[in-house]
């Protein structure tokens, strides 16, 4: 019973192979942190899970349902578009560059998807959005447009926006990489709280402190391959691979 399972995901951009047989499993409630140097394929892997990238080959199960079995880029799994969309809704995503909707206030950013996709009535969506924004510490910024918010505040709105769809899994794609150092802490605190509340999380990050403290499992990717995985303790104190050791030395 895994919530995410991938088998031999491969992805090429032209002749460049960015993912080579990536197989990974995430259990419900687990926090898995993917680390590794730039260009290792971490983000591409994350993005292939919710189809922002189409992998070249490999299988993906979400909540034990096979949604992709690609051969030469073509998906062999035929399911109704609505059914697939419903499964994909189980994943929420937070982006490095926030990607908030600049023409909408914080509140409207959070309300948009529940109202549009799920048909939640406005009043209900608003109440929920207010609650979520309060949870991420932005109860006083409900009517602010993104341009008026700091990067850290924008990212917390983005987290609230993803949570509003009540996902079972949250994907974080370098959520703090675009932030000024002093703003990173607020975002990590929200993520840590989310992990403590039992959310299943798959996080790509360069924040080794977060990985060490919050992760149940750390995955090290290098050059499109999962080189090793283990508990934070195993990875950080006794890495098996030279590459892992070199990487950790360079970032710690």
């Amino acid at each position: 019973m895994s919530i995410i399972k991938t088998e031999n995901i491969c992805k090429s951009f032209g002749s460049v192979e960015v993912l080579k047989n990536v197989s990974l499993t995430v259990e419900p409630g687990e926090v898995v942190v993917i680390i590794g140097p730039s260009g290792a394929g971490k983000s591409t892997f994350l993005r292939s899970l919710n189809r922002l990238e189409k992998s070249t080959s490999g299988k993906i199960w979400i909540d034990d349902k096979l949604i992709e079995d690609r051969v030469n880029g073509h998906n062999q799994v035929h399911m109704h578009q609505k059914e697939r969309a419903a499964i994909l809704l189980e994943m929420g995503m937070v982006f490095q560059r926030f990607n908030l909707f600049p023409h909408k206030t914080a509140l409207q950013n959070v309300m948009l998807a529940p109202m549009t996709v799920k048909g939640v009535p406005e009043k209900e969506a608003r109440a929920k959005a207010v609650k979520l924004l309060e949870q991420v510490g932005l109860g006083d910024k409900l009517d602010a447009y993104p341009a008026k918010l700091s990067g850290g505040q924008q990212q917390r709105v983005a987290i609230a926006r993803a949570l509003a769809m009540e996902p079972k899994i949250m994907l974080f794609d370098e959520p703090t990489s675009a932030l000024d150092p002093e703003l990173v802490g607020d975002v990590l605190a929200v993520m840590k709280k989310l992990a403590e509340d039992g959310m299943t999380m798959l996080v790509v990050t360069h924040e080794m402190g977060f990985a060490r403290e919050v992760a149940d499992r750390v995955v090290f990717m290098y050059d499109g391959v999962v080189l090793e995985e283990g508990t934070p303790k195993e990875i950080f104190t006794a890495p098996k691979h030279d590459r892992t050791r070199q990487f950790l030395q360079s970032v710690l």
């Binding site: 919710n50 969309a85 990607n99 909707f101 023409h103 998807a113 549009t116 447009y145 769809m165």
Partner: protein
């Protein structure tokens, strides 16, 4: 000098009347072209290869041939080819030619504005479960509006001046009326009030478009 001013005042009623034609033709053709161009732009960027090619070909044709000839084509050539397509109203013929032509230009403006919106906006929308159509309608296009306004304003001013071409099918717009007065009264002075009228109209519309742009910029 007083004599000149008196002459000009005497010509004003006829000039103002013909200005109505110029204004109506510009506003009505740009308005119709705006609606048409949204479909052309969305068609061109659509994933449907057939639809995309048709829109591309349309835009290529209307941007690649002179407006003057398109006007001739609709008013003179079409009826000769197919008698049923004989357009009686000069105004309607001019409106049709301008609408078809301007739509091609506006479609490119709209397409460029839509494509200038950060890809992350579509990605975030898709990750939240919105369909491509919903993301376009609720997220991408509303942001593209503001970026379209300055080039659309520009296009409108061009159209306003290009309407002077309709004198070749003898539609009495401001330019045609000015020419008539100039030859009937044997006085080139009439070009002065005519140019001032063009300036006033473009000035007013530029002001309106600027206000619109500011109003749509509240969130930036």
């Amino acid at each position: 000098m007083m004599d000149a001013i008196n002459k000009i005042i005497g010509w004003m009623p006829a000039l103002i009347q013909s200005t109505g034609t110029t204004l109506a033709l510009s506003v009505l053709s740009v308005a119709a072209a705006l609606i048409f161009s949204v479909f052309l732009a969305l068609g061109k960027i659509s994933r449907n290869a057939v639809l995309s090619s048709i829109c591309r070909a349309y835009i290529f044709f209307f941007r690649g041939t002179p407006l003057l000839m398109q006007l001739f084509f609709i008013y003179y050539t079409l009826p000769q080819l197919i008698p049923a397509l004989n357009i009686q109203s000069r105004f309607f013929a001019a409106w049709l030619a301008f609408t078809l032509n301007v739509a091609a230009y506006l479609a490119e403006i709209i397409r460029a504005a839509i494509e200038s919106i950060d890809k992350g906006q579509m990605e975030a929308s898709r990750a939240l479960g919105l369909t491509r159509g919903q993301a376009m309608r609720l997220v991408v296009i509303p942001q593209a509006y503001r970026r379209m306004i300055p080039p659309i304003c520009n296009e409108f001013v061009m159209v306003l001046k290009d309407t002077s071409l309709v004198s070749i099918i003898a539609l009495t717009d401001l330019t045609y009326q000015t020419k008539i007065i100039a030859s009937n009264k044997a006085s080139a002075l009439v070009y002065i009030p005519a140019m001032i009228i063009y300036l006033v109209i473009t000035g007013v519309f530029t002001f309106i478009f600027n206000r619109l742009e500011k109003r749509l910029s509240i969130y930036e």
